[in-house]
Amino acid sequence: MEENQYLEAELGLAKAPSLYFIFDFKEKSVYLKAKGTIFREWEIRRIRFWGNPVPVKSFLLIKKSALFPPKRKSIKPGKSEEKDNFELEVLELKDMPSSYTLSIEGDIVVYVRPKTKSFVSLLRNIGHSLRWYTFPPLKTLWFSLKKKRSYTAIDILLADEKDAKALYWAFLDGLKGIIYRPRSN
């Protein structure tokens, strides 16, 4: 039944003239697709869930948030840089954050982090784990007191920083997609 809902949802997205994402927790992958064709795939190394199950239907990515979001440079008219200057200040993949939050409609929050490679990222992941074990329960209680549907938090660990940055780059606000985790999984 869930597979049926997943395929129905994907068919709806594939028919539209736009890209869409799929968090496929059965396959432990994130896909960026269009017309049923995979353009980019990210391997998920670890997943944690909190809160209510997510219905299998298409959702909208409302916004991305990070502690240090990338900043665009403002061009000063009349002071354009040398065209061949490699010191250009532009927004590139390396400027993207590797740890961030995706806020998806329906009170769904996806925390994205890369696998620990350095001491700094280890400290950051420890801090995130502390937050994971303290913040969601408090938010769940708050939602219950407000008589709102309990929110869903998903924590995913990607293979490395480059993957995490690339996902941040590719996932624009307003992108639609599916979160798929069959209950039998």
């Binding site: 039944m1 597979e3 049926n4 395929l7 129905e8 994907e10 068919l11 594939a14 028919k15 003239p17 736009s18 890209l19 960026l32 269009a34 017309k35 049923g36 064709t37 353009f39 980019r40 869930f49 909190w50 809160g51 209510n52 199950p53 990338p70 665009r72 440079k73 403002s74 061009i75 008219p77 009349g78 002071k79 354009s80 065209k83 061949d84 490699f86 250009l88 200040e89 532009v90 927004l91 590139e92 993949l93 303290t134 969601p136 329960p137 408090l138 938010k139 769940t140 209680l141 219950s144 309990s150 940055k165 690339a166 780059w169 590719a170 624009l172 985790r181 209950r183 039998s184």
Partner: protein
């Protein structure tokens, strides 16, 4: 304030915090268990199961029928690579330059430009050879120059390479003089490609060839 009082207040705050945490955990774990619990709907009969499986096959077939079979262009703006594909096969891979993401604000004016390459699904709307660049207003503002009233003063030849593929709203896949900057996000939104790669893409594309940019 005596240390003992501070300690008592601290312990009470901690206790209240822990009570809230446990309450949140209790509610959350109950919700969490729904992720793993077996399907609680009434047992699906064998006939219904077969119907669902058959329906799933039809749906999977429908999705597959939408998949791209002819030639199309995929542009990865994060890594600045253009893929020319036919079905699942990559025929050509080219290093490109895409939008810088910079912002230009018109001095004393209301207009603002953000130099991003647009993302999504597009298609080739025009094919040009030796295209001239018709400089938009931002190109003059960026250089600190006055916007000319004479249209002919906007035309600049030889900067867009030998070919141009337009995909709407003034955006093109075109050539470049700045080949050293290929692989970087340096453009005002257009896609710059090296001459040989551009020639191959131009020749293999038609009006209507799909372009996917992410």
């Amino acid at each position: 304030m005596p240390k003992r009082v501070i300690l008592i207040i601290g312990l009470r705050v901690l206790l209240i915090f822990l009570v809230f945490e446990f309450a949140g955990y209790y509610i959350g774990i109950r919700s969490n268990s729904k992720w793993k619990s077996a399907v609680t709907e009434k047992k699906i009969e064998a006939k219904s199961l077969k119907e669902i499986q058959a329906k799933n096959k039809i749906l999977a077939k429908k999705i597959k029928s939408l998949s791209l079979k002819g030639v199309y262009i995929v542009i990865d703006t994060a890594n600045n690579i253009l893929y020319f594909r036919k079905g699942n096969e990559v025929i050509l891979e080219a290093v490109i330059s895409s939008g810088s993401g910079d912002i230009l604000q018109e001095p004393g004016g209301k207009r603002k430009w953000i130099f991003d390459t647009p993302r999504g699904e597009f298609y080739v709307k025009s094919k040009l050879t030796e295209p001239d660049w018709v400089k938009p207003d931002w190109a003059f503002i960026e250089e600190g120059e006055n916007i000319p009233k004479d249209f002919n003063q906007r035309i600049e030849s030889g900067v867009l390479g030998d070919y141009g593929l337009g995909f709407g709203e003034g955006y093109f896949i075109h050539g470049t003089l700045y080949t050293r900057l290929l692989g970087r996000n340096v453009t005002h939104g257009c896609i710059r490609v090296a001459d040989n790669d551009l020639k191959a893409v131009y020749r293999a594309s038609s009006i209507g060839t799909k372009i996917f940019i992410y």
